[in-house]
């Protein structure tokens, strides 16, 4: 199964030292609804101009350093095509971040 999933993950941790989280996109599942782009609290994503094989424009990462790994994108994605996860980070900061990204309403 995993072989079928073309995953766009961030290439090098060293380049994005500031990032507390990372987001992965399974581009072939995406139907370009834009939910992840709109509701990412730190605006990490944008819909790309590239097509997937079904003709949709999947999101791509425009501000990787802002990703907290909160997985709100994953919670919203109706196509199970994106998810965020936290990277190992100094504990205190990671916890503060996790509290910030609640969408209480």
């Amino acid at each position: 199964m995993l072989a079928n999933l073309r995953e766009l993950t961030l290439p090098l941790v060293g380049v994005f030292v500031a990032a507390k989280g990372r987001v992965s996109i399974v581009v072939e599942r995406c139907k370009a609804c834009g939910f992840c782009v709109e509701f990412c609290p730190t605006k990490v994503l944008a819909l790309s101009s590239a097509f997937n094989s079904k003709g949709y424009h999947p999101p791509h990462v425009v501000s990787p350093e802002k990703c907290s790994g909160c997985d709100l994108c994953g919670m919203y994605c109706p196509d199970f095509a994106i998810y965020g996860h936290k990277l190992q980070a100094p504990k205190a900061e990671a916890t503060a971040e996790a509290k910030e990204v609640n969408n209480e309403g």
Binding site: R29, F39, Y76, P78, E104
Partner: protein, 305 residues
């Protein structure tokens, strides 16, 4: 105890999906998939033993959930998810039985089952994805379609009064009633977790976009536009009187936990009555004969897992 854990940090919903059936058939911007993420989150949060879980759907776009989750699931006949689920629960009281279906399935053809399961307080967790329409069959008016909405069967606008589902199920006897929209992902996950900790008939309504049929015919934009509308027009009012939470075409959406109360469920009442009438002659078949399929077993049958 069966729990599913991804070996690498992956999408938390993935272990609960039949990945070989992806991509699913739901349209771009359809909200049903989003509700599935919340359901998966609730399963993780509540640490529920998946061996004790059964998911039952009727027919419709929402009914497809039963076919996409990697759980013991039944995709039953239209309107009859609750009767199937009731049978499962009574025959095997150790199961946590979830009914996951659409507004049409649950409140139109299955409407009588809905009110009577609530009245009898059968221990079921009902997740009703309300897209205000019969989506799968082409967007016909449902009992939930708000006044003035255009549908394939009401091209000049709906004029029938609609059901306010939280009000209906509260009046019928549900012990837990909440409503969220697909915008409220964390809150929805929390409500589902709460329902797992409740004994009795729980009902969670999720207002969800059907951009292909409902929003398009009503010129309400796509799924994302609808999500923004939910964000803007929803007002959280926990404990709001359910008589005041009816939906309108473009108006405010009252969300929150409306009802959280306790009353004895169907099995408890059944046993109490039988003990009263039959005394020692009555044997609780689930407890004393060990039929309950619970985490620590008792049941010798492995084939049912």
């Amino acid at each position: 105890m069966t729990t599913l854990v991804s070996p690498i940090p992956g999408n938390p919903v993935e272990p609960f999906l039949r990945s070989d059936r992806m991509p699913h058939i739901w349209c771009p911007g359809c909200g049903i998939g989003t509700t599935v993420n919340c359901f998966a989150e609730a399963l993780i949060e509540s640490k529920i033993d998946l061996k004790t879980l059964a998911l039952v759907s009727g027919i419709g776009c929402t009914g497809r959930v039963a076919g996409y989750v990697k759980l013991d699931s039944f995709h039953t006949t239209h309107g009859r998810a609750i009767p199937f689920a009731t049978g499962l629960k009574l025959a095997n009281p150790g199961l946590n039985v979830v009914v996951y279906s659409g507004d049409g399935d649950l409140s139109a053809i299955g409407g009588n089952h809905l009110i009577h399961a609530a009245r009898r307080n059968i221990d079921l967790k009902v997740i009703c994805v309300n897209n205000l329409i019969y989506a799968m069959t082409g967007g016909q008016t449902a009992p939930t379609t708000p006044g003035h909405a255009t549908t394939s069967t009401s091209p000049y606008g709906t004029f029938e009064p609609s059901f306010n589902l939280p009000h209906l199920v509260e009046a019928a006897g549900a012990v837990y009633v909440a409503r969220w929209t697909t915008f409220h992902v964390r809150q929805l996950a929390r409500s589902i977790t709460e329902a797992f900790n409740k004994k009795g008939f729980s009902f969670i309504e999720v207002i969800s976009p059907c951009p292909t049929l409902y929003q398009r015919r009503n010129k309400m934009g796509d799924g994302l536009e609808t999500m923004k509308y939910y964000k803007e027009k929803s007002k959280t009012k926990h404990g709001a009187p359910t008589s005041e939470v009816g939906l309108t075409l473009n108006g405010e959406i009252i969300v929150g936990k409306f009802v959280d109360r306790d009353r004895p469920d169907y099995s408890t009442l059944l046993k109490a009555q039988m003990h009263e009438s039959l005394g020692d002659k009555y044997v609780d078949y689930d407890e004393e004969q060990g039929y309950a399929c619970s985490a620590d077993g008792g049941c010798e049958e492995d084939s049912c897992h």
